[in-house]
Each structure stands twice: as C-alpha cells, then as structure tokens.
Symmetry: C3
Subunit: 213 residues, 3 copies
C-alpha cells in the first residue's frame, strides 16, 4: 500500500519533471528532438540517479524500471510536440516543476530512511533528488542552475524532506504524512513563486538583478 502510493507519486513527479525539463530546455537553446527528449529524461531521471549514487543503490532504480524510462520519454515527447501550446498556458512550467520538486524531495528522503541512513543524510538526499535533475539540465544548456541564484527552490525541498524525516522519527510515517509533506513543499514553493520571495543574498552585495549572461 505505502509502496504503491510512493510509486505513483514518484511516476507523477517523473512525468511532471520530464515535461517541465523539456520545455525549459527548448526555451534556453536550440535543440532537436533528441535534445528535447534527452533533456526531459535527464531532468526527470537525473535526481533519482544522483540519489542512488549517494545511497550506493546502483544500478539506479529509474534506469532498471522501464516504467520510469517510458514515463520520462513520453513526457519529453509531449513537450516536443506541444511546446507551442504548453508555453501559452501561463504558469504551467512553474506548477509542474513545483510538483516534481515536492514529490522527489519526499520520495528521495523516504528511500534513504528505508535503506537505514541517518536523518541528516535523508534530508540531504531528498533535497538533492528534488533539485538534481533540473541542475543537470541547466548545466547541459549552459545556464547557472536556477537553484543557486535566487527564488525559493532548495528551501521548500529541504523543509518537505525534513518534515517527512521528522515524522518518521516520531513514528508517524505513512502515505498521509508523505502526501502532507509533499503538499507543504509544493505550497511553500508556489508561494515563493507568487510573491517572488528570495533567499538572502550575501551581505553587502548589490540589489537583485537578472542572472549574468
């Protein structure tokens, strides 16, 4: 039961990230169909691959299980053929991205706990699972990863992963807690987008400006 919920959440996050990653990549640089689908798949599967590297759980689960590969590839193809329409739906990218971030942060942290890692490691791995795929994508399309430059992105993932890990320490883990922690992360992320909240910049640095190009 709990496993099925985790799997469904994880596949939903995979699809959301594949569509979102492919759309972001299309906007950043000129890509052909191979590039769009590949970047969708890397965004969707990259976080889980880094997670399994850190947890010594190779080969990566997302690579062994055809469902992840298929869902990620379909997401990339949807973005390729529907890019013009999807971009018009205002906020689509942000919502899909927040969904993927939330789901991966929670499932990543839960996998670390299930494998016996400590709480600090579980929180770190959850956060990396959430932000890792998008970071790989940004590096490949030659952008400074957005997670490093502003906005609330890693912090909601950190809070969601912490919530689910603390719940586990308090013997309150289960599907409800997992979904609750994902919703918490999602809401904080979307509030951050809506109100344009930033994490603090170094003391004495200039006012926020657009990232360097």
């Amino acid at each position: 039961m709990a496993t099925t919920v985790l799997l469904i959440l994880d596949l939903a996050g995979t699809f959301a990230f594949a569509v979102n990653g492919a759309l972001t990549a299309v906007r950043a640089t000129r890509l052909d169909i191979v590039g769009v689908v590949t970047l969708g798949m890397i965004t969707a599967l990259g976080g889980g691959t880094i997670r399994d590297l850190f947890l010594d759980s190779l080969p990566p689960a997302t690579f062994l299980d055809w469902r992840y590969l298929a869902v990620a590839a379909v997401g990339g193809l949807v973005a390729f053929f529907g890019a013009r329409h999807l971009e018009r739906i205002n906020g689509t990218i942000n919502v899909l991205d927040a969904a993927g971030l939330s789901l991966f942060a929670i499932t990543g942290a839960l996998k670390a706990v299930a494998l016996g890692f400590g709480p600090a490691q579980a929180v770190i791995v959850g956060t990396i699972t959430g932000v890792g795929g998008g970071t790989l994508r940004d590096v490949l399309v030659r952008q400074v990863p957005s997670v490093l430059t502003g906005g609330l992105y890693a912090i909601p993932a950190l809070i969601g992963a912490t919530a689910v890990v603390v719940a586990g320490l308090l013997d309150a883990s289960g599907p409800v807690t997992a979904v609750g922690a994902a919703v918490l992360c999602f809401v904080i992320r979307m509030l951050g987008v809506h109100f344009d909240v930033n994490a603090p910049f170094p003391p004495g640095s200039a006012e926020p400006r657009p990232p360097d190009d």
Copy 2:
C-alpha cells in the same frame, strides 16, 4: 576470441575519441597541456565510466585497466603536439569521432547484455557510452553538447546498439555481428555528416541556425 575482438575495438575507439576530443577542445577554448590531455582522456574514458556507473560495474573498467589509460593519454598527447597538422587533414575529426561513436555504442550495449540487463537498458547504455564522453567534454569547455542540438549523432548510436542487441536476441551474436553493427552506425553517421541531415526540430520553431553563442 570474441573478447579479444571486443577489446581491440574498444581500444581503437578509445584512441579515436582521445585524439578527437582533444582536437575539439583545442578549437573551443584556450587550454594548456594538462587541459588538452585531460579533455582527450575524459572524451575517451567518460562514456565508459558513465556506462559502468549505470551497470553497477564500479570501479570503471577504463580506470582499472592501464591499457585504456595509456591509449587515452597517448591520444591526447598526439593531439596536443599535432594539432596544427591534424586540423588541416579535412574531415579527420569527423571520421575519428564517428569511429569512436560506433565502437563504443556497440561495446557498451554488449557489456550490458553480458551483465544480464534487459534489451531496453542495453540499447540506452550503448548509446550513452557512445555519446557520454563527448558530452562531458562539451560541458567542460562550456558548449551546449552537440549531441543535443542537431545533426545525426545519437540516432546512429541508437541504431547500432539496437542492431547488436536484436542480433543477440536472435542468437546471432559474435564478432562479425558486432563489427557489422559498428559499420552500420559509422555509415549512418558519416552519411548524416556528408548530407548534413538533422533530426527534427520542435514544430513551429524557426529554420535551423547556428547554435547560440
């Protein structure tokens, strides 16, 4: 016998990629001897390292076996000292690159099959082995990986890896099949270069133009 053929193909691909990777790197940015040789070695050994990460076959074979390290280092040094002459030989880079791509796609897929992975995983790993080293190189010299932006590059590798995997499913594997699949990949790649074939771009996007700088 089959093992010896595989090893020779793999070392030939390693040398081709090391020379090619170092030459490409020299053209992209200013590098010293450490940079040229390192990028030649990363181009030559990076695909196999990613392959062994996905196949849970660490430490990477290319790192444990001094022959790969030596062949890759020699290839990088050849490119360093001969860059001026090699660049004049028109098409050298493309031919070496197609050779490395073909050989790695086939040997990568065969390694996955030999370790008991499924056909889909073997095809994916073969393709990653072929394109992985050049992708790492492009990221390090700050270019959008050429595999993502146009030309037929991943697709020949995908076809070659599929051919050798399907042959294995039909009990027709062996040195002849392996070499045949590599030649298939090589020919498709070179036809793509010669006739300037591109994979499809997103519907509605502008006509092909040079990659962004």
Copy 3:
C-alpha cells in the same frame, strides 16, 4: 595515529576548500545563500565523492560522516557572511585553495593505496580528489575549469600524489611522509602562483591571453 592525522588533514582541506569555493563562486556570478553554501560544500566534498565513485567506495565517505558535512557547511557560511572581509585579505583564496589541493591529493592517493589499487590508479585518484571539487564548482558557475586553462594546478597535485605513492612503495609511508608530500605540493602550487608559471600551451598557439568570455 596515522588515521587520526589523515582525518585531521582531510577535515582541514575540507574547510579550506569550502571557504575558498564559496568565495570563488560569489565572485563569478550572483548567488543567494543556498547557492553560496551549496557551492562551498560541492567544492569541499565533490573531489572526495568522485574519488569514492572511482574506488567503488560508495556511499561517499564525505556524505556518511557528519563531520565532513558540518565542516563544509560552516565553511560555506563563513564565506557567505564574511565575503567582503575575506576578499580584502590579499591572497587568502589562493592560499586556502593550495592547502585544500595539497591535502586532498595526498589523502585521496593514500585511500586508493589502502584499498589495494595500483600506483598509477592511486596517483590519478589523488589528483582527481584534489582538482575535482573545484572543477564541479566551475562548471556550475559556467566557467571553463581553471585547472584546464593554465597555471600550475593539476601538476603540483600530480607530484604530491606521486611522492606519497612512491614513498609507500619504498616502505616509507607514515604521517611524516604524508605531511611532507602535502607540503611539497603546496610549495610548488604557491611558487606557480607567485611566479605566474604556466604549463605548456599547444605548439603554434598564440601567446597566453585571458580565458575566453
């Protein structure tokens, strides 16, 4: 005893690299607190993570041991809050960087030897441990890794790692040798900085100029 010395050297290198990596990142692009601390931690822990990947020693030691995580995070925070003051101390970045490079090259090579790898592999892994974290940082802030473009950076690490590996082959390993090899690497690196020594550029290439922007 030897283990304690190794641990202390390793933690000192981690702190030096975290402060240095975060300061370098702040100068290269605009980052928020998440970005500064993350890049400090990646600079500090990235080399050891790549080392443990190559040595098949996953999960990475730097990830399992809270002391590395804590020291790296504190180093990143020190850089975040003290960036203005630290940058004024002329040469701070270079000295910290040389310290981290030297300590990691030696401890990386010693770990490979302790796990039974050959001398060539130990030297390569030591060098990668020294230069890996800074390379990851440079890629993330969208710079060509400085190790590839000039200055003496990989070469002192290579010499230090070779010294400690050769000492081991001559049955002369121990804390004194380890510290001696680290000092050797540090001195060569600082002499290279002071006298602006470069590794050779490709024959026929133009005179040194600043890296491309």
